[in-house]
Subunit: 158 residues, 2 copies
């Protein structure tokens, strides 16, 4: 099957410069704000996105060029298949985050619930649609044991 060429559509400006401060998922550190800055030709694509409360960002883990088929997640030492974890060391090194939209100004989308490094190349933005993207009765596999009533145990919130 043929390779696919992807062109970044913009860049993430984030206060997280390195692994030390970044949360495992942005929803656990809700107040920090970041933005994606689109290249000018894509600016008009943001039209009407400000009517949505959340967006799905797809981006390139440019600090990870490793591809591990079995890997260790942040949450525990046990290894799992890469498609059962959210590690950046994965085939194609694409990341996805649900973020909360603050506002759209010109070619910038400001958001909170950030878990993306500064200067990450952005690949796509999609509106988060509750009818398509939210699910009830979700089982979250090996991850469930790290949460009690939706709240992460111990050090996840560091």
């Amino acid at each position: 099957m043929e390779n696919i060429i992807i062109k970044p559509i913009g860049i993430v400006n984030s206060p997280y410069k390195g692994a030390k401060d970044i949360p495992i998922q942005g929803i656990f550190k809700s107040k920090t704000e970041a933005n994606v800055e689109l290249f000018d030709k894509y600016k008009k694509g943001l039209t009407d996105l400000d009517g949505f409360s959340h967006a799905i960002l797809i981006y390139y883990f440019n600090k990870s060029d490793k591809e591990k088929i079995i890997g260790k997640p942040f949450l525990e030492n046990k290894e799992h298949g890469v498609f059962a974890i959210r590690s950046p060391n994965r085939p194609n090194n694409l990341g996805i985050s649900i973020v909360k939209i603050s506002r759209v100004v010109n070619n910038k989308l400001y958001f909170t619930q950030v878990d993306i490094f500064d200067k990450t190349p952005l690949i796509d933005i999609k509106p988060y649609v509750k009818y398509f993207d939210s699910r009830d009765n979700v089982k979250s596999g090996w991850i469930d044991k790290h949460f009690i009533n939706g709240v992460p145990k111990q050090t996840i919130l560091k």
Copy 2:
């Protein structure tokens, strides 16, 4: 910013061969089953995914090579910015679907809630994690007016 090379990790086997029968989102036609068939080298990456009820599939809209910055969604005739719709005619032509996992057998992940065409190249699989991916108090912009109490109006369910 540099281009990124993506290698498909497998292929989608789906009963939907053309635009006629496919639902706008798989959750609205829940019983149809499809599978993704991973290339052998990625098979072990599925380990432990069967503990999750849902997965996020990222794939390449290989029938769409158009890139429209303003586009018309399936649901209405009004145009919106491409980042406020889920159209396949978008920069980088990547699609994302939340699907319900039926079972994992060897190099195949069987699932329902299908809205993907047959022979679509697969780019990534991520576990759907309720703590990361579900949100309350979601506003879905121009899409909300097409639903009443979570149920789509009129012909969306065709």
